[in-house]
């Protein structure tokens, strides 16, 4: 499935159309530390003797197998995964039949070139060392187990029984041994040379040479060269990788890029939102302000109108009063004249 990180639109509801190219939008290519180590695991050579598991337990001082657990092959009946006491396990993926030998594969942390366990750790407890291995620092770890959840190879384990000082348990590619100039315990123990330790770029050439030399023995693909940005462990197989529970058809884009693709939008939210919301707040305040002004204007207007009416009424009232007065005066004058007239008649009579 191709998910293009670069085109990811971080549009978020409720805010302005917030489009930011959220992919790890750098064009620079990170080739990894030069001369870093890797391991080549040739599953066609593996005979399932599990000496690597024994060696790994010895090197890491883990509880050993009881008795000669090595020889009972019933352990291959169901597929195991790495646990906190077994940092590597060998699984059988195809039974032997008369033409072909059985197919085995060793599981362990793949020490990715671009580790997603390191990317998702909130306390930066993982570190990709220049020599190649990805190291874990238990003194920083707070036990959130995001790395265990994120690992696409199901390679990380955790000490669930340990109540107070649980640690993430995983292969360290025998980092102390590498620093001493030795090779990892499993590579040293493997009788068939199914695990070869060396410089990663050289091992890729060796793997290609093996494929070129016997085309009918190998699937022409080195797993781990590019998957999710590539891993330190390189795997050659005679059967399709899907049958070895390996996702060979995935993007070459590293998981850190996919995992952090959205985080580029977060700073945008921090910087755009204040302006946006302040504008919104100002807008709604101004709206209130305008609304308030309108109300005042309306009030002033109504008051003004009211005043005018009052004056008119007053004026009208005054006029009426004046008219009434005049009428009263007329009436009084007429009465007076009438009374005067009547007196003349009476005077006249008298």
């Amino acid at each position: 499935m191709t998910i293009s990180r670069r085109g990811f639109i971080g549009g978020v509801l409720g805010s302005a159309a917030l489009t930011g190219t959220a992919g790890a939008s750098t064009v620079e290519y990170f080739g990894g530390y030069p001369g870093r180590y890797g391991l080549l695991h040739d599953t066609t050579l593996c005979v399932g003797c599990r000496s690597c598991e024994v060696a790994c337990k010895k090197v890491n001082e883990l509880p050993p197998f009881e008795g000669n657990a090595i020889d009972d092959h019933s352990v291959f009946d169901n597929k195991r995964r790495t646990t906190d006491t077994a940092l590597t396990v060998v699984n059988r993926y195809r039974e032997a039949d008369d033409q072909h030998p059985a197919v085995y594969r060793k599981l362990q942390c793949m020490h990715c070139e671009e580790p997603c366990c390191a990317t998702v750790c909130p306390v930066h407890a993982f570190e990709k060392t220049p020599e190649g291995p990805v190291l874990y620092h238990a003194e920083l770890c707070m036990g959130c187990r995001y790395c265990v959840m994120a690992c696409p190879y199901y390679a990380l384990a955790y000490e669930y029984e340990n109540p107070l000082t649980p640690r993430v348990m995983r292969c360290t590619m025998c980092y102390p041994r590498i620093k001493e100039g030795l090779i990892p315990g499993c590579a040293e123990a493997c009788p068939m040379g199914a695990i070869t330790f060396g410089r990663r770029d050289e091992l890729i050439k060796v793997a290609r040479e093996r494929i070129r030399k016997n085309p009918e023995r190998y699937v022409d693909h080195i797993f781990g060269e590019n998957e999710f940005g590539g891993t330190s462990w390189l795997i050659l197989a005679g059967v399709p990788f899907k049958e070895l529970d390996l996702h060979a058809d995935v993007t070459h884009e590293p998981l850190p890029a996919i995992g952090t693709s959205y985080l580029s939008v977060v700073p945008l939210v921090i910087t755009i939102y204040p302006g946006l919301l302040a504008a919104f707040y100002a807008f709604s305040k101004r709206k209130d302000h305008l609304a308030k002004q309108e109300i005042e204007a309306a009030v002033a207007e109504t008051r003004a109108k009211a005043d005018e009416e009052a004056e008119e009424k007053l004026a009208k009232a005054a006029e009426k009063a004046k008219k009434n007065q005049e009428k009263a005066v007329e009436r009084a004058v007429k009465e007076a004249v009438a009374k005067a007239g009547a007196e003349q008649e009476k005077g006249g009579e008298s």
């Binding site: 003797c49 000669n68 020889d71 009788p191 068939m192 070869t196 330790f197 410089r199 060796v206």
Partner: protein, 504 residues
Amino acid sequence: MTRYANPLGSLGLVVAVVALGVPGLGLASEEATHIMSPSTVVMGFPESLGALQRPAVEFDHAIHTKELKSEGCVKCHVVEETSLNPAFKPALNLTDRNGLIDAYHTACVGCHQSRIDASLKAGPVVCGGCHVRHEAATSQWVAMHWDYSLHARHDQVFPDKCGTCHHVYNKAEKKLEYKKGAEDSCSACHGDHDEGKNLSLTNASHTSCVGCHLERSKAGEKAGPTDCVGCHDESVLKTYPPLDPVPRLLRGQHDRSWIGAENTRSGMVPFNHLDHEPQADFCSGCHHANLDPCVKCHTAMGAPEGDLVTLQESYHRVTSSFSCVGCHEERARDTECVGCHRSIPTAVSQRSCAICHSGPSRKEAGPDYPPPPATAKTTLPPLPASTDKLPDTVEIKVLASTYKPVQMPHRKIVEKLDAGIRKSQLASTFHGTTERLCAGCHHHSQEGTFEPHCRACHGEMAAAGIDRPDLKVAYHRQCMGCHEAMGIKKVGCTDCHAAKEVGS
């Protein structure tokens, strides 16, 4: 407020529509790879008439032959006395698209329908019944292939009457005639498609072979198979008992002949045809196109009719099973030989040129040169007795820590390998000496010696950069790899070295 339709009712409707509609979109289910039986024919449709709108029909010929036994082949095929045309009769020489489609449908569906009406067992009448989509289809159908015993059995039925099957096309008189000494394989002339009168290999073979089988079985005589499974099913082919002894197929070939191209300086190769014949199933093992000499198509510089494979390539190409060197490399992968040869690169080694090119060059031999004299079989000198250079057992203890040292039965191994080489003329000739086989394990030592010791190159630490394993891995890969390749069941840890009591 106007009351709308009861809200829950309209809601239920919307949910139902969406819930039912959407999943219908994607009912594709991954289907395991579909395996077609050997007698299943995928009905072809000429591209010239346009692409098929529905998946091609997989016609199960076996069921039809069983069901329509009584009506016989004439139901669908044009059958004459000695020939049966495999083409579908109703669709013969139809060239327009719809006409052809209708022809198929009326014939097949019509027949099914009439059988349903007569309440007989019948095939599908619905489009989806025949036109079924399959993702990855693999077929068990196997191309029919000849071998000496099958040819000899036909020879017994028609003694010295090669003309029954073999014929050549006389261009002048435009007719088929038999020509002694020009017998060849059918595929020499009959190609993939009909070219005018020259039928395709499929049509030609079914017409003559199946036709003849049918006619003889109808007349009650012993006859070959008349159904698809008879020639195209691997398991059935195995049931035909090969003749014992298989008489030699004589077609005028020399027992021994020189092989050498003109104007080359290298010596000619004395080729022993007689000894090489039993190495292949049939002449077509090497004469893969026709019985003409290689140089006719594989010219010195390569020619189109020879797929641009040059003459040198036709003799020396390592990856082809028709070329000399290619076939020899294939023999080197037999179980007796693969132990050592699995890690010997498949390439023409300069050392072995002289073994084949031992004759005089074309120039020295002059214009007419007699066929090569019979050469004696090469027999290798017997294995020398055990000495410290050829010890009976070797104790490998340099690495012994978790396991006890290994007591390697050196003599037994050498004898087993030597027996395999001695038995095969090819191996004896090319090995040349008995000590040659030592290089199988002592792969960087002078012939017959074991210096330098493994430890010299395979140290404590592997040289990963040049893919050279460390000593422990070198031992294990060499021994266990060889055992596994040769089917020797000694691959367990304690099969070779006893475990120390302290436990693994």
